[in-house]
Symmetry: C2
Subunit: 426 residues, 2 copies
Amino acid sequence: MARIVMKFGGTSMAGTERIRRVANIVRKQQAAGHEVAVVVSAMAGETDRLINFCREAHALYDPAEYDVVVASGEQVTSGLLAMTLQSLGCKARSWLGWQMPVNTIEAHSKARVETIDAPEMIASMEAGAIAVIPGFQGVSADRRITTMGRGGSDTSAVAVAAAVKADRCDIYTDVDGVYTTDPRIVAKARKQKAVTYEEMLELASVGAKVLQTRSVGLAMKEGVRIQVLSSFGDEDAVPADEMPGTLIVSDEEMDQLVEQGDMERQLVTGIAHDKNEAKVILTRVPDKPGAVADIFGPLAEASINVDMIIQNVGRDKGETDVTFTVPAADLARAQALLEDRQEQIGFNRIITDDHIAKISVVGVGMKSHAGVASDMFRALSDRGINIQAISTSEIKVSVIIDEDETELAVRVLHTAYGLDAKDDAA
Amino acid sequence: MARIVMKFGGTSMAGTERIRRVANIVRKQQAAGHEVAVVVSAMAGETDRLINFCREAHALYDPAEYDVVVASGEQVTSGLLAMTLQSLGCKARSWLGWQMPVNTIEAHSKARVETIDAPEMIASMEAGAIAVIPGFQGVSADRRITTMGRGGSDTSAVAVAAAVKADRCDIYTDVDGVYTTDPRIVAKARKQKAVTYEEMLELASVGAKVLQTRSVGLAMKEGVRIQVLSSFGDEDAVPADEMPGTLIVSDEEMDQLVEQGDMERQLVTGIAHDKNEAKVILTRVPDKPGAVADIFGPLAEASINVDMIIQNVGRDKGETDVTFTVPAADLARAQALLEDRQEQIGFNRIITDDHIAKISVVGVGMKSHAGVASDMFRALSDRGINIQAISTSEIKVSVIIDEDETELAVRVLHTAYGLDAKDDAA
């Protein structure tokens, strides 16, 4: 017997027919002898509908009242799933954020879980009832509803899994696991049996939209084992105790999996691409103390996320070019902000380009292996792909290239690092 | 300065534009110096949408989970109204059933308010914030959401008014007050300045759909003064301190109003009609102890509301005809139930008729005046309208007639009791 937290997103909960499908998946886990808690999102589209109401009501809406309105979406689906489970003969009840309670800090619409005190819910699970929990919501110290920002249901699920000391947190989504790269680009992409928290964090941060980054960070901190799997597969084809998806685990568990022969040790785990960045070049910035702060301070204040920063040294004596990337959606705002401060910063020209892509290679293996980055540069240059900027972290190398070469670059690198599925190999 | 509870129904809350209209009405009361709490319904249609989900999820749904689902409708409108009030520059916040809290007995989907402990909310109102309260919902002793059945928002509003010791509970609806009769039938119907709780209870029970009966009963018990008024009038035309609607008050206050010359003493307050009843006649029922219990026991168990009962004595020796009315919607069920028990009850034939109408004359004045009933019978017979059954209470006389004669009967009685508006008199 294990204790399992299952999480279903908005697409899986969109309508009573799909909720019945979810209920069948949940029942199967309980029938296999597990204690089960289920965390649910609102029906797909519902949160947008509610947010629209808020915007119509007040352009500068009160986040506390916003939370009252949008938390209702998950309240509805949790009640409906509990009923549907009962209709299948399971014991079940819903536990709203304030009932469990999920205590959060009082940052409305972007709350973070502090503690979950759920002795009553755990007792109910031990007595055989399935706990159904609305994701995304909690309660503040002054007993008001809080929500955790878009995609917060993944984080709710991990927090609940930590609180009930679950053996695993199964996150059901519209993909059936974490792939070596986007299967729509590379037909030979392979589903991973397991990746580490750090790898998943890096992959999520560079565009692999499988899990919300914050949920992975929390799982790493709390040691919650995650499984990513599909809610649209054939739930009858896989025995309840198999792991059809991708596990997200600690370095230690990964080492064990490799030792047991369940996994091959890999240098590179995944190749991700992100077309939503834009590049900004400021030319002839005075090379003096404080210049960089003058550039990035205002962007940070405006909540514009700067990703890669490259400073080209010594173009002219005392001057330098500064290149960086921002989300394409923020490009116009960033440009306006910087132009307002042209005199203060002292740059000559501002050049922008949103026709770029960021290609990233991720893998814990590169901690102990030099040469991953140079292999990347060589593979790309062999195919004539020009690298416009480079940044590296301990387990990731990212490059900026022309957007038109995205798919080519991803395929070339997937082959270069030996990630192509063997069954399909030509 | 007064303390006022205002209540708006689903039609008034249907969409952000209408909510803005409501916010303007509320702001005007606050601007007049009053402390204000507002009780709101869900957007029109929303509760039906949520109930449909529940029915799809589980034909025999758990009322506790049903309450979780349907209470969300009022949660949404209360958050939206609080925001909208803020956008108009008012201080406002929502108080959900479990936050105030509204403690109810644990009868899910038909809960009744036990106590409302709202010191925090009252303090907030005294500090100038408008309290926005989702109607229809409360919380049980074991901290689960409860709801009060369809139309429960009126009752919520009265319960809140009692709890905060409000000077008045203004119930905004799609009519602008209580009329002497249905103005769609009688052009000369007059809006009443005031009616008593008892009269309103009788009028509500015989088809005047202005207020939920339970809310009037609670107001009478708690001594809450109600005003019924329209949310679709021109809110700028009436000063905040005038009473454009109909007051519902105690006998004592009514006496005062008459003494002050604000009201005329009336024998009859209103004439109501109800076409939703059906008549059942059981012929030749043995006139023995227990026969009546055999008829009405099974109907009560099946929750079929029997209204008028007439037993015609001595048709044949030892036998009697029993006539009664039930809601037309329950007629088929009632008939089947009785036919199943024909042998046990021992009746000869069952005759049903849903082509009837109940016409009622209501007024506290008839307590001290005989002759109201006989005036009614004479007025109807003068116009050739046949009376099929009669029932009376202390302040009401009801008759059953052919449905086709409904409008004629209402007009005849409206004139007979001198209720026609004088301005319009021919």
